[in-house]
Amino acid sequence: MTETQAGTGEAMASPVAPQVPAIELDGVVKEYLANGEVVQAVKGVTLSIAEGEFFSLLGPSGCGKTTTMRMIAGFEDPSRGVVRLHGRDVTNVPPNRRDVNMVFQSYALFPHMNVWENVAFGLRRRKTPEAEIKRRVGETLEIVDLVGREKRRPREMSGGQQQRVALARALVNRPRALLLDEPLGALDLKLRQAMQIELKRIQREVGITFVYVTHDQSEALTMSDRIAVMHDGLVEQLASPREIYERPATAFVAGFIGTSNLIRGTVDRVESGNAVLALDEGGRVLVAEASHRAGDPITITVRPEKITISTEEPAGGLSAVRGTVSEVVYLGLYNSYAVRLADGAEVTVFQQNALDSSSTAERGDAVWLSWQPHHSYAIGS
Protein backbone atom coordinates (compact mmCIF):
# COMPACT_ATOMS: atom_id res chain seq x y z
CA MET A 1 0.00 0.00 0.00
CA THR A 2 2.75 2.45 0.82
CA GLU A 3 5.58 3.52 -1.40
CA THR A 4 8.24 3.09 1.24
CA GLN A 5 7.81 -0.54 2.11
CA ALA A 6 9.98 -1.43 5.02
CA GLY A 7 10.72 -5.05 5.60
CA THR A 8 10.70 -5.84 1.88
CA GLY A 9 14.13 -7.27 2.41
CA GLU A 10 17.70 -6.23 1.77
CA ALA A 11 17.27 -6.77 -1.97
CA MET A 12 15.11 -3.65 -2.16
CA ALA A 13 17.28 -1.48 0.06
CA SER A 14 19.50 0.87 -1.85
CA PRO A 15 23.13 -0.13 -1.49
CA VAL A 16 24.40 3.43 -1.83
CA ALA A 17 22.58 5.51 0.77
CA PRO A 18 22.42 4.06 4.24
CA GLN A 19 18.86 4.35 5.48
CA VAL A 20 18.05 7.62 7.21
CA PRO A 21 16.34 6.94 10.54
CA ALA A 22 12.64 7.75 10.57
CA ILE A 23 12.90 9.55 13.89
CA GLU A 24 15.91 10.85 15.80
CA LEU A 25 15.98 12.47 19.21
CA ASP A 26 19.26 14.11 20.08
CA GLY A 27 19.81 15.08 23.71
CA VAL A 28 16.20 16.08 24.10
CA VAL A 29 15.27 17.73 27.42
CA LYS A 30 11.86 19.00 28.47
CA GLU A 31 11.49 21.25 31.46
CA TYR A 32 8.25 22.50 32.94
CA LEU A 33 7.75 25.31 35.37
CA ALA A 34 5.49 23.96 38.11
CA ASN A 35 4.77 26.26 41.07
CA GLY A 36 7.86 28.31 40.34
CA GLU A 37 10.08 25.24 40.28
CA VAL A 38 11.72 23.74 37.22
CA VAL A 39 10.68 20.12 36.76
CA GLN A 40 12.48 17.98 34.20
CA ALA A 41 9.94 15.63 32.64
CA VAL A 42 12.52 14.39 30.12
CA LYS A 43 16.14 14.64 31.19
CA GLY A 44 18.07 14.01 28.00
CA VAL A 45 16.88 11.35 25.59
CA THR A 46 18.88 10.32 22.55
CA LEU A 47 17.53 7.61 20.33
CA SER A 48 17.00 6.74 16.73
CA ILE A 49 14.08 4.82 15.27
CA ALA A 50 14.43 3.02 11.97
CA GLU A 51 12.04 3.16 9.03
CA GLY A 52 9.24 0.59 9.43
CA GLU A 53 10.16 -0.28 12.98
CA PHE A 54 7.68 -1.05 15.74
CA PHE A 55 9.28 0.91 18.53
CA SER A 56 7.96 1.08 22.10
CA LEU A 57 8.54 3.55 24.87
CA LEU A 58 7.97 1.55 28.02
CA GLY A 59 8.01 2.72 31.60
CA PRO A 60 5.96 3.41 34.69
CA SER A 61 3.47 6.28 34.84
CA GLY A 62 5.16 9.67 35.04
CA CYS A 63 8.50 8.61 33.56
CA GLY A 64 8.17 10.97 30.59
CA LYS A 65 6.82 8.74 27.81
CA THR A 66 3.97 11.03 26.78
CA THR A 67 6.17 14.11 26.91
CA THR A 68 8.74 12.40 24.67
CA MET A 69 6.05 11.41 22.19
CA ARG A 70 4.48 14.88 22.20
CA MET A 71 7.85 16.37 21.31
CA ILE A 72 8.01 14.03 18.30
CA ALA A 73 4.49 15.08 17.28
CA GLY A 74 5.26 18.76 17.83
CA PHE A 75 2.88 19.51 20.68
CA GLU A 76 5.74 20.31 23.03
CA ASP A 77 8.88 22.25 22.21
CA PRO A 78 12.01 20.66 23.66
CA SER A 79 13.81 22.88 26.16
CA ARG A 80 17.07 21.57 24.70
CA GLY A 81 18.00 19.10 22.01
CA VAL A 82 16.96 18.35 18.45
CA VAL A 83 14.13 16.32 16.92
CA ARG A 84 14.73 15.02 13.39
CA LEU A 85 12.21 13.31 11.12
CA HIS A 86 13.86 11.56 8.18
CA GLY A 87 16.98 13.58 8.67
CA ARG A 88 15.17 16.92 8.69
CA ASP A 89 15.41 19.08 11.80
CA VAL A 90 11.78 19.68 12.82
CA THR A 91 12.44 20.97 16.33
CA ASN A 92 10.54 24.20 15.61
CA VAL A 93 8.00 22.91 13.09
CA PRO A 94 4.36 22.98 14.28
CA PRO A 95 2.41 19.69 14.45
CA ASN A 96 0.23 20.46 11.43
CA ARG A 97 3.36 20.57 9.28
CA ARG A 98 4.97 17.37 10.53
CA ASP A 99 4.59 14.23 8.54
CA VAL A 100 3.63 12.12 11.54
CA ASN A 101 0.22 11.38 13.00
CA MET A 102 -0.84 10.60 16.52
CA VAL A 103 -3.44 8.25 17.98
CA PHE A 104 -4.64 9.78 21.24
CA GLN A 105 -5.36 7.82 24.38
CA SER A 106 -8.85 9.38 24.52
CA TYR A 107 -9.15 8.73 20.74
CA ALA A 108 -10.16 12.41 20.33
CA LEU A 109 -12.65 11.57 17.58
CA PHE A 110 -14.62 14.58 16.37
CA PRO A 111 -18.03 13.99 17.98
CA HIS A 112 -20.06 15.98 15.43
CA MET A 113 -18.65 14.08 12.46
CA ASN A 114 -19.42 10.56 11.37
CA VAL A 115 -16.80 7.89 10.84
CA TRP A 116 -16.26 8.78 7.20
CA GLU A 117 -15.81 12.50 7.90
CA ASN A 118 -13.47 11.76 10.79
CA VAL A 119 -11.25 9.58 8.64
CA ALA A 120 -11.33 11.98 5.68
CA PHE A 121 -10.38 14.99 7.84
CA GLY A 122 -6.63 14.84 7.26
CA LEU A 123 -6.92 14.27 3.50
CA ARG A 124 -9.35 17.18 3.16
CA ARG A 125 -6.87 19.49 4.90
CA ARG A 126 -4.34 18.61 2.20
CA LYS A 127 -6.77 19.32 -0.59
CA THR A 128 -6.62 15.74 -1.83
CA PRO A 129 -8.91 15.22 -4.85
CA GLU A 130 -12.32 13.92 -3.82
CA ALA A 131 -11.99 10.71 -5.83
CA GLU A 132 -8.74 9.85 -4.11
CA ILE A 133 -10.21 10.64 -0.70
CA LYS A 134 -13.03 8.24 -1.46
CA ARG A 135 -10.67 5.48 -2.48
CA ARG A 136 -8.22 5.92 0.38
CA VAL A 137 -10.83 6.25 3.13
CA GLY A 138 -12.52 3.13 1.77
CA GLU A 139 -9.25 1.21 1.72
CA THR A 140 -8.32 2.27 5.23
CA LEU A 141 -11.73 1.40 6.65
CA GLU A 142 -11.23 -2.01 5.10
CA ILE A 143 -7.88 -2.42 6.83
CA VAL A 144 -9.39 -1.62 10.24
CA ASP A 145 -12.50 -3.69 9.47
CA LEU A 146 -15.07 -0.88 9.69
CA VAL A 147 -16.70 -1.13 6.27
CA GLY A 148 -20.43 -0.46 6.59
CA ARG A 149 -20.02 1.83 9.62
CA GLU A 150 -19.20 4.98 7.65
CA LYS A 151 -22.32 6.88 8.72
CA ARG A 152 -22.02 6.13 12.45
CA ARG A 153 -21.22 8.84 14.96
CA PRO A 154 -18.35 8.04 17.35
CA ARG A 155 -20.62 7.89 20.38
CA GLU A 156 -22.72 5.20 18.69
CA MET A 157 -19.71 2.88 18.64
CA SER A 158 -18.00 0.61 21.15
CA GLY A 159 -14.60 1.46 22.62
CA GLY A 160 -12.85 -1.02 20.35
CA GLN A 161 -14.52 0.42 17.26
CA GLN A 162 -13.68 3.98 18.26
CA GLN A 163 -10.10 2.87 18.70
CA ARG A 164 -10.07 1.58 15.15
CA VAL A 165 -11.60 4.79 13.80
CA ALA A 166 -8.82 6.73 15.54
CA LEU A 167 -6.28 4.42 13.95
CA ALA A 168 -7.86 4.76 10.49
CA ARG A 169 -8.00 8.55 10.81
CA ALA A 170 -4.24 8.62 11.32
CA LEU A 171 -3.28 5.80 8.92
CA VAL A 172 -5.22 7.18 5.96
CA ASN A 173 -2.73 10.06 5.67
CA ARG A 174 0.11 7.55 5.18
CA PRO A 175 2.29 9.38 7.70
CA ARG A 176 6.00 8.66 7.81
CA ALA A 177 5.42 7.54 11.39
CA LEU A 178 2.43 6.80 13.57
CA LEU A 179 2.58 7.78 17.24
CA LEU A 180 0.35 5.86 19.63
CA ASP A 181 0.00 6.95 23.28
CA GLU A 182 -1.29 4.02 25.33
CA PRO A 183 -3.89 3.40 22.62
CA LEU A 184 -5.32 0.30 24.27
CA GLY A 185 -5.37 1.64 27.81
CA ALA A 186 -9.14 2.15 27.93
CA LEU A 187 -10.06 -1.32 26.65
CA ASP A 188 -10.71 -4.41 28.72
CA LEU A 189 -8.16 -7.22 28.79
CA LYS A 190 -9.69 -9.48 26.12
CA LEU A 191 -10.23 -6.68 23.63
CA ARG A 192 -6.79 -5.33 24.40
CA GLN A 193 -5.14 -8.63 23.53
CA ALA A 194 -7.16 -8.90 20.32
CA MET A 195 -6.20 -5.33 19.37
CA GLN A 196 -2.50 -6.02 20.07
CA ILE A 197 -2.53 -8.71 17.41
CA GLU A 198 -4.61 -6.48 15.14
CA LEU A 199 -2.22 -3.52 15.52
CA LYS A 200 0.77 -5.70 14.79
CA ARG A 201 -0.95 -7.05 11.66
CA ILE A 202 -1.83 -3.56 10.44
CA GLN A 203 1.69 -2.33 11.06
CA ARG A 204 3.11 -5.18 9.00
CA GLU A 205 0.54 -4.56 6.29
CA VAL A 206 1.14 -0.82 5.86
CA GLY A 207 4.83 -0.85 6.75
CA ILE A 208 4.66 2.44 8.63
CA THR A 209 6.97 3.21 11.55
CA PHE A 210 5.04 2.84 14.81
CA VAL A 211 6.09 4.55 18.03
CA TYR A 212 4.10 2.95 20.78
CA VAL A 213 3.83 4.29 24.33
CA THR A 214 2.81 1.85 27.03
CA HIS A 215 3.33 1.08 30.70
CA ASP A 216 2.39 -2.55 30.10
CA GLN A 217 5.58 -4.60 29.80
CA SER A 218 3.91 -7.67 28.29
CA GLU A 219 2.32 -5.49 25.62
CA ALA A 220 5.69 -3.98 24.75
CA LEU A 221 7.43 -7.36 24.77
CA THR A 222 4.94 -9.03 22.43
CA MET A 223 4.56 -6.23 19.89
CA SER A 224 7.84 -4.39 19.56
CA ASP A 225 10.89 -4.73 17.38
CA ARG A 226 12.77 -2.62 19.90
CA ILE A 227 11.94 -1.15 23.28
CA ALA A 228 13.25 1.88 25.11
CA VAL A 229 12.67 1.36 28.81
CA MET A 230 12.26 4.77 30.43
CA HIS A 231 12.65 5.66 34.06
CA ASP A 232 12.50 9.10 35.60
CA GLY A 233 12.97 11.01 32.34
CA LEU A 234 15.82 8.87 31.02
CA VAL A 235 16.15 5.83 28.78
CA GLU A 236 17.55 3.02 30.96
CA GLN A 237 17.90 0.48 28.18
CA LEU A 238 17.21 0.38 24.46
CA ALA A 239 17.20 -3.08 22.94
CA SER A 240 15.14 -5.89 21.48
CA PRO A 241 12.44 -7.45 23.70
CA ARG A 242 14.50 -10.60 24.09
CA GLU A 243 17.61 -8.71 25.11
CA ILE A 244 15.66 -6.54 27.54
CA TYR A 245 14.09 -9.59 29.10
CA GLU A 246 17.16 -11.79 29.26
CA ARG A 247 19.86 -9.19 29.79
CA PRO A 248 18.36 -6.26 31.70
CA ALA A 249 20.94 -3.47 31.83
CA THR A 250 19.96 -2.06 35.20
CA ALA A 251 18.26 -3.16 38.39
CA PHE A 252 15.31 -1.00 37.43
CA VAL A 253 14.82 -2.76 34.10
CA ALA A 254 15.23 -6.15 35.73
CA GLY A 255 12.57 -5.28 38.28
CA PHE A 256 10.18 -3.62 35.85
CA ILE A 257 10.20 -6.36 33.22
CA GLY A 258 8.78 -9.64 34.46
CA THR A 259 9.93 -11.25 37.67
CA SER A 260 13.60 -11.16 38.38
CA ASN A 261 15.98 -12.22 41.12
CA LEU A 262 18.77 -9.96 42.24
CA ILE A 263 21.77 -11.58 43.94
CA ARG A 264 24.63 -9.54 45.35
CA GLY A 265 28.10 -10.85 46.03
CA THR A 266 31.82 -10.30 45.67
CA VAL A 267 33.96 -11.75 42.89
CA ASP A 268 36.14 -14.40 44.51
CA ARG A 269 38.12 -15.63 41.50
CA VAL A 270 37.89 -16.00 37.73
CA GLU A 271 37.79 -19.62 36.57
CA SER A 272 37.60 -20.88 32.96
CA GLY A 273 36.03 -17.68 31.69
CA ASN A 274 33.49 -17.41 34.51
CA ALA A 275 33.63 -15.04 37.41
CA VAL A 276 32.88 -16.95 40.59
CA LEU A 277 31.00 -15.11 43.31
CA ALA A 278 31.55 -15.99 46.90
CA LEU A 279 28.33 -15.86 48.87
CA ASP A 280 28.37 -15.54 52.63
CA GLU A 281 26.30 -18.65 53.17
CA GLY A 282 28.38 -20.88 50.93
CA GLY A 283 27.49 -22.06 47.49
CA ARG A 284 28.67 -20.36 44.29
CA VAL A 285 27.36 -18.15 41.56
CA LEU A 286 29.03 -18.34 38.16
CA VAL A 287 28.83 -15.36 35.82
CA ALA A 288 29.78 -15.91 32.19
CA GLU A 289 31.87 -13.41 30.18
CA ALA A 290 32.32 -11.15 33.13
CA SER A 291 35.17 -8.73 32.86
CA HIS A 292 35.46 -8.48 36.59
CA ARG A 293 38.43 -8.88 38.84
CA ALA A 294 38.63 -10.57 42.19
CA GLY A 295 37.29 -8.38 44.96
CA ASP A 296 34.73 -6.50 42.81
CA PRO A 297 31.28 -6.29 44.39
CA ILE A 298 28.65 -7.13 41.76
CA THR A 299 24.91 -7.66 41.43
CA ILE A 300 23.50 -10.23 39.06
CA THR A 301 19.97 -10.98 37.88
CA VAL A 302 18.61 -14.37 37.02
CA ARG A 303 15.13 -15.08 35.67
CA PRO A 304 12.93 -17.47 37.70
CA GLU A 305 12.38 -19.91 34.81
CA LYS A 306 16.15 -20.38 34.30
CA ILE A 307 16.62 -21.86 37.76
CA THR A 308 16.38 -25.59 38.50
CA ILE A 309 15.34 -26.75 41.92
CA SER A 310 16.74 -30.05 43.30
CA THR A 311 17.39 -31.88 46.52
CA GLU A 312 20.85 -33.17 45.51
CA GLU A 313 23.88 -31.00 45.06
CA PRO A 314 24.11 -30.00 41.40
CA ALA A 315 27.05 -30.85 39.13
CA GLY A 316 30.03 -28.52 38.80
CA GLY A 317 29.95 -25.83 36.12
CA LEU A 318 26.61 -24.52 37.34
CA SER A 319 25.71 -21.88 39.87
CA ALA A 320 24.60 -23.63 43.04
CA VAL A 321 22.94 -21.97 46.01
CA ARG A 322 21.33 -23.50 49.12
CA GLY A 323 18.01 -22.39 50.52
CA THR A 324 14.73 -23.37 52.17
CA VAL A 325 11.40 -23.49 50.37
CA SER A 326 9.12 -20.96 52.03
CA GLU A 327 6.19 -21.02 49.58
CA VAL A 328 4.87 -23.16 46.74
CA VAL A 329 2.14 -21.83 44.43
CA TYR A 330 0.53 -24.00 41.77
CA LEU A 331 -0.03 -21.90 38.64
CA GLY A 332 -1.21 -24.44 36.08
CA LEU A 333 1.58 -24.46 33.53
CA TYR A 334 4.19 -24.15 36.21
CA ASN A 335 4.83 -23.97 39.93
CA SER A 336 6.21 -20.88 41.57
CA TYR A 337 8.58 -21.43 44.50
CA ALA A 338 9.82 -18.87 46.94
CA VAL A 339 13.17 -20.01 48.28
CA ARG A 340 14.78 -18.22 51.20
CA LEU A 341 18.55 -18.10 51.18
CA ALA A 342 20.65 -18.17 54.33
CA ASP A 343 21.16 -14.38 54.23
CA GLY A 344 17.41 -13.84 54.18
CA ALA A 345 17.13 -12.92 50.48
CA GLU A 346 14.22 -14.56 48.67
CA VAL A 347 14.57 -16.12 45.23
CA THR A 348 11.62 -16.90 42.96
CA VAL A 349 11.79 -20.06 40.87
CA PHE A 350 9.38 -21.19 38.15
CA GLN A 351 9.37 -24.92 37.47
CA GLN A 352 7.36 -26.25 34.58
CA ASN A 353 4.76 -28.93 35.25
CA ALA A 354 5.79 -31.33 32.54
CA LEU A 355 4.92 -34.93 33.29
CA ASP A 356 4.61 -35.02 37.00
CA SER A 357 2.24 -32.45 38.44
CA SER A 358 3.35 -33.14 42.02
CA SER A 359 5.92 -30.60 43.05
CA THR A 360 9.55 -31.59 43.38
CA ALA A 361 9.84 -29.82 46.71
CA GLU A 362 7.55 -29.05 49.59
CA ARG A 363 7.36 -26.14 51.93
CA GLY A 364 10.16 -26.30 54.48
CA ASP A 365 12.45 -28.51 52.36
CA ALA A 366 16.13 -27.68 52.13
CA VAL A 367 16.94 -27.46 48.43
CA TRP A 368 19.66 -26.56 45.93
CA LEU A 369 19.10 -23.99 43.22
CA SER A 370 21.19 -24.18 40.08
CA TRP A 371 21.48 -22.41 36.73
CA GLN A 372 23.84 -21.97 33.79
CA PRO A 373 26.60 -19.34 34.04
CA HIS A 374 25.24 -17.40 31.05
CA HIS A 375 21.89 -16.98 32.79
CA SER A 376 23.58 -14.89 35.47
CA TYR A 377 23.62 -11.40 34.12
CA ALA A 378 25.65 -8.72 35.81
CA ILE A 379 23.91 -5.35 35.88
CA GLY A 380 25.05 -1.82 36.53
CA SER A 381 23.52 -0.22 39.58
Binding site: P94, P95, A108, F121
Partner: protein, 260 residues
Protein backbone atom coordinates in the same frame (compact mmCIF):
# COMPACT_ATOMS: atom_id res chain seq x y z
CA UNK B 1 -50.21 2.05 48.73
CA UNK B 2 -48.48 5.09 50.13
CA UNK B 3 -46.24 4.98 47.09
CA UNK B 4 -49.25 5.27 44.81
CA UNK B 5 -50.69 8.12 46.81
CA UNK B 6 -47.33 9.85 46.79
CA UNK B 7 -47.10 9.43 43.03
CA UNK B 8 -50.53 10.96 42.61
CA UNK B 9 -49.74 13.90 44.85
CA UNK B 10 -46.55 14.50 42.91
CA UNK B 11 -48.48 14.37 39.64
CA UNK B 12 -51.07 16.81 40.88
CA UNK B 13 -48.38 19.11 42.22
CA UNK B 14 -46.52 19.09 38.90
CA UNK B 15 -49.67 20.00 36.97
CA UNK B 16 -50.41 22.77 39.44
CA UNK B 17 -46.98 24.29 38.84
CA UNK B 18 -47.41 24.01 35.09
CA UNK B 19 -50.81 25.69 35.28
CA UNK B 20 -49.36 28.44 37.44
CA UNK B 21 -46.52 29.06 35.00
CA UNK B 22 -48.67 29.04 31.89
CA UNK B 23 -51.78 30.91 33.14
CA UNK B 24 -50.39 34.40 32.38
CA UNK B 25 -49.26 33.29 28.94
CA UNK B 26 -52.66 31.83 28.17
CA UNK B 27 -54.36 35.02 29.32
CA UNK B 28 -51.99 37.08 27.15
CA UNK B 29 -52.74 34.96 24.08
CA UNK B 30 -56.48 34.94 24.80
CA UNK B 31 -56.85 38.71 25.09
CA UNK B 32 -55.18 39.08 21.70
CA UNK B 33 -58.43 37.62 20.36
CA UNK B 34 -60.70 39.78 22.55
CA UNK B 35 -63.34 41.67 20.56
CA UNK B 36 -63.22 44.60 23.00
CA UNK B 37 -65.20 47.79 22.46
CA UNK B 38 -64.18 49.88 25.47
CA UNK B 39 -60.75 51.43 26.01
CA UNK B 40 -59.46 48.78 28.38
CA UNK B 41 -58.74 45.24 27.40
CA UNK B 42 -59.48 43.52 30.68
CA UNK B 43 -62.85 41.81 30.28
CA UNK B 44 -63.75 39.16 27.70
CA UNK B 45 -66.19 40.42 25.11
CA UNK B 46 -66.06 37.90 22.30
CA UNK B 47 -63.67 36.31 19.81
CA UNK B 48 -62.08 38.12 16.87
CA UNK B 49 -59.07 38.01 14.53
CA UNK B 50 -59.32 41.77 14.09
CA UNK B 51 -56.17 42.68 16.01
CA UNK B 52 -54.08 40.33 13.91
CA UNK B 53 -55.29 42.20 10.85
CA UNK B 54 -54.64 45.59 12.45
CA UNK B 55 -51.35 44.52 13.99
CA UNK B 56 -49.40 47.52 12.73
CA UNK B 57 -52.25 50.05 13.01
CA UNK B 58 -50.53 52.02 15.77
CA UNK B 59 -47.34 53.39 14.24
CA UNK B 60 -45.75 54.37 17.54
CA UNK B 61 -46.19 50.81 18.86
CA UNK B 62 -44.79 49.39 15.63
CA UNK B 63 -41.85 51.76 15.86
CA UNK B 64 -41.13 50.63 19.42
CA UNK B 65 -41.28 46.98 18.36
CA UNK B 66 -38.91 47.61 15.47
CA UNK B 67 -36.53 49.39 17.86
CA UNK B 68 -36.66 46.44 20.23
CA UNK B 69 -36.01 43.90 17.49
CA UNK B 70 -33.12 45.96 16.13
CA UNK B 71 -31.52 46.31 19.53
CA UNK B 72 -32.11 42.62 20.33
CA UNK B 73 -30.58 41.37 17.08
CA UNK B 74 -27.55 43.64 17.16
CA UNK B 75 -26.86 43.17 20.86
CA UNK B 76 -27.31 39.39 20.57
CA UNK B 77 -24.79 39.17 17.74
CA UNK B 78 -22.29 41.38 19.57
CA UNK B 79 -22.81 39.59 22.88
CA UNK B 80 -22.45 36.16 21.32
CA UNK B 81 -19.21 37.01 19.53
CA UNK B 82 -17.59 38.78 22.50
CA UNK B 83 -18.97 36.32 25.06
CA UNK B 84 -17.80 33.26 23.11
CA UNK B 85 -14.28 34.63 22.85
CA UNK B 86 -14.26 35.43 26.57
CA UNK B 87 -15.77 32.07 27.49
CA UNK B 88 -13.09 30.27 25.46
CA UNK B 89 -10.32 32.25 27.12
CA UNK B 90 -11.67 31.79 30.64
CA UNK B 91 -12.42 28.10 30.14
CA UNK B 92 -9.10 27.17 28.65
CA UNK B 93 -6.18 29.41 29.31
CA UNK B 94 -4.54 30.36 32.54
CA UNK B 95 -3.56 33.96 32.22
CA UNK B 96 -2.90 36.97 34.37
CA UNK B 97 -6.24 38.48 35.32
CA UNK B 98 -8.20 35.28 34.86
CA UNK B 99 -9.39 35.34 38.47
CA UNK B 100 -10.48 38.97 38.17
CA UNK B 101 -12.32 38.23 34.91
CA UNK B 102 -14.14 35.29 36.45
CA UNK B 103 -15.19 37.47 39.37
CA UNK B 104 -16.43 40.24 37.08
CA UNK B 105 -18.56 37.77 35.13
CA UNK B 106 -20.23 36.68 38.32
CA UNK B 107 -20.55 40.24 39.61
CA UNK B 108 -22.25 41.33 36.39
CA UNK B 109 -24.85 38.60 36.79
CA UNK B 110 -25.59 39.44 40.39
CA UNK B 111 -25.65 43.24 40.08
CA UNK B 112 -29.21 44.57 40.51
CA UNK B 113 -30.53 46.05 37.28
CA UNK B 114 -31.34 49.33 38.99
CA UNK B 115 -27.72 49.75 39.99
CA UNK B 116 -26.50 48.84 36.54
CA UNK B 117 -28.97 51.19 34.84
CA UNK B 118 -28.16 54.13 37.09
CA UNK B 119 -24.42 53.70 36.81
CA UNK B 120 -24.59 53.33 33.02
CA UNK B 121 -26.62 56.51 32.83
CA UNK B 122 -24.07 58.47 34.85
CA UNK B 123 -21.31 57.00 32.70
CA UNK B 124 -23.03 58.13 29.50
CA UNK B 125 -23.92 61.51 30.92
CA UNK B 126 -20.41 62.17 32.19
CA UNK B 127 -19.05 61.05 28.83
CA UNK B 128 -21.47 63.33 27.02
CA UNK B 129 -22.78 60.38 25.04
CA UNK B 130 -26.13 61.10 23.43
CA UNK B 131 -28.65 58.50 24.61
CA UNK B 132 -30.53 56.46 22.00
CA UNK B 133 -30.55 53.07 20.33
CA UNK B 134 -26.74 52.87 20.47
CA UNK B 135 -26.61 53.33 24.23
CA UNK B 136 -29.48 50.87 24.69
CA UNK B 137 -27.58 48.31 22.62
CA UNK B 138 -24.37 48.87 24.59
CA UNK B 139 -26.29 48.42 27.85
CA UNK B 140 -27.92 45.21 26.62
CA UNK B 141 -24.56 43.78 25.56
CA UNK B 142 -23.22 44.56 29.02
CA UNK B 143 -25.90 42.86 31.03
CA UNK B 144 -26.25 39.77 28.82
CA UNK B 145 -22.54 39.20 28.18
CA UNK B 146 -21.98 37.24 31.38
CA UNK B 147 -24.70 34.74 30.51
CA UNK B 148 -23.05 33.89 27.20
CA UNK B 149 -19.65 33.66 28.91
CA UNK B 150 -21.03 31.25 31.49
CA UNK B 151 -22.77 28.91 29.03
CA UNK B 152 -19.79 28.87 26.64
CA UNK B 153 -17.26 28.42 29.43
CA UNK B 154 -19.18 25.39 30.71
CA UNK B 155 -18.85 23.75 27.28
CA UNK B 156 -15.17 24.66 26.96
CA UNK B 157 -14.31 23.21 30.35
CA UNK B 158 -15.95 19.92 29.35
CA UNK B 159 -14.04 19.81 26.08
CA UNK B 160 -11.33 17.16 25.59
CA UNK B 161 -8.18 19.23 24.90
CA UNK B 162 -6.85 16.51 22.63
CA UNK B 163 -9.73 17.19 20.18
CA UNK B 164 -8.03 20.37 19.01
CA UNK B 165 -4.63 18.72 19.10
CA UNK B 166 -5.98 15.94 16.89
CA UNK B 167 -7.17 18.54 14.36
CA UNK B 168 -3.76 20.23 14.36
CA UNK B 169 -2.07 16.85 14.07
CA UNK B 170 -4.16 16.11 10.97
CA UNK B 171 -2.97 19.28 9.30
CA UNK B 172 -5.50 21.92 10.33
CA UNK B 173 -4.21 25.41 11.10
CA UNK B 174 -5.45 27.53 14.00
CA UNK B 175 -8.44 29.02 12.21
CA UNK B 176 -9.51 25.77 10.53
CA UNK B 177 -9.27 23.97 13.86
CA UNK B 178 -11.52 26.56 15.45
CA UNK B 179 -14.03 26.53 12.61
CA UNK B 180 -14.26 22.76 12.09
CA UNK B 181 -13.68 21.36 15.57
CA UNK B 182 -13.84 23.86 18.45
CA UNK B 183 -16.85 25.87 17.33
CA UNK B 184 -19.08 22.87 16.53
CA UNK B 185 -18.13 21.33 19.87
CA UNK B 186 -19.10 24.42 21.88
CA UNK B 187 -22.05 25.33 19.62
CA UNK B 188 -24.76 24.20 22.05
CA UNK B 189 -23.33 26.59 24.64
CA UNK B 190 -23.05 29.40 22.10
CA UNK B 191 -26.66 28.94 20.95
CA UNK B 192 -28.00 28.70 24.48
CA UNK B 193 -26.14 31.89 25.36
CA UNK B 194 -27.45 33.66 22.25
CA UNK B 195 -31.02 32.66 23.07
CA UNK B 196 -30.63 33.97 26.60
CA UNK B 197 -29.14 37.22 25.33
CA UNK B 198 -32.01 37.73 22.89
CA UNK B 199 -34.64 36.97 25.53
CA UNK B 200 -32.98 39.28 28.06
CA UNK B 201 -32.75 42.10 25.52
CA UNK B 202 -36.22 41.94 24.01
CA UNK B 203 -38.05 42.40 27.31
CA UNK B 204 -35.67 44.52 29.33
CA UNK B 205 -37.32 47.46 30.98
CA UNK B 206 -35.26 48.64 33.94
CA UNK B 207 -31.82 49.23 32.43
CA UNK B 208 -33.30 50.43 29.14
CA UNK B 209 -35.41 53.05 30.90
CA UNK B 210 -32.22 54.73 32.18
CA UNK B 211 -30.35 54.93 28.89
CA UNK B 212 -33.07 55.23 26.22
CA UNK B 213 -32.98 59.00 25.72
CA UNK B 214 -36.08 59.71 23.67
CA UNK B 215 -36.23 56.32 21.99
CA UNK B 216 -38.96 53.85 22.98
CA UNK B 217 -38.62 50.10 23.00
CA UNK B 218 -41.49 47.62 23.12
CA UNK B 219 -41.46 47.19 26.93
CA UNK B 220 -41.10 50.95 27.49
CA UNK B 221 -44.06 51.65 25.17
CA UNK B 222 -46.24 49.13 27.03
CA UNK B 223 -45.37 50.57 30.43
CA UNK B 224 -46.18 54.02 29.08
CA UNK B 225 -49.63 52.98 27.93
CA UNK B 226 -50.67 51.08 31.08
CA UNK B 227 -52.71 54.00 32.37
CA UNK B 228 -54.54 54.67 29.12
CA UNK B 229 -55.15 51.00 28.45
CA UNK B 230 -52.97 48.49 26.64
CA UNK B 231 -54.20 47.85 23.10
CA UNK B 232 -54.78 44.21 22.03
CA UNK B 233 -52.00 44.56 19.44
CA UNK B 234 -49.58 44.28 22.36
CA UNK B 235 -51.05 40.90 23.20
CA UNK B 236 -50.74 39.83 19.59
CA UNK B 237 -47.11 40.95 19.39
CA UNK B 238 -46.39 39.24 22.70
CA UNK B 239 -47.99 36.07 21.37
CA UNK B 240 -45.88 36.17 18.22
CA UNK B 241 -42.63 36.81 20.10
CA UNK B 242 -43.49 34.00 22.51
CA UNK B 243 -44.28 31.67 19.59
CA UNK B 244 -40.97 32.42 17.85
CA UNK B 245 -39.08 31.97 21.12
CA UNK B 246 -40.69 28.58 21.75
CA UNK B 247 -39.97 27.49 18.19
CA UNK B 248 -36.28 28.45 18.51
CA UNK B 249 -35.99 26.74 21.89
CA UNK B 250 -37.48 23.53 20.50
CA UNK B 251 -35.24 23.66 17.43
CA UNK B 252 -32.21 24.17 19.68
CA UNK B 253 -33.20 21.25 21.91
CA UNK B 254 -33.70 18.95 18.93
CA UNK B 255 -30.46 20.03 17.28
CA UNK B 256 -28.38 19.66 20.43
CA UNK B 257 -29.87 16.24 21.08
CA UNK B 258 -28.82 15.20 17.60
CA UNK B 259 -25.38 16.72 18.14
CA UNK B 260 -24.57 15.90 21.74
Amino acid sequence: MTGKLGDRLLHGYTWLIIAWLTAPIIVMIMFGFNDKQSKSNTSWQGFTFRWYGELFADSSLTGALVNSLQVAVVSTVLTTVIGTALGLALGRHRFRGRGVSNFLVFAAISTPELVMGASLLSLFVSGNTPRGLATITIAHVLFSLSFVVVTVRARVVGLDPSLEEAARDLGAGTWTTFRLVTLPAIMPGVLAGALLAFALSIDDYVVTSFVNGNQLTFPLWIMGSVKVGIPPQVNVMGTLIFGIGVAIAIANAVASRRRA
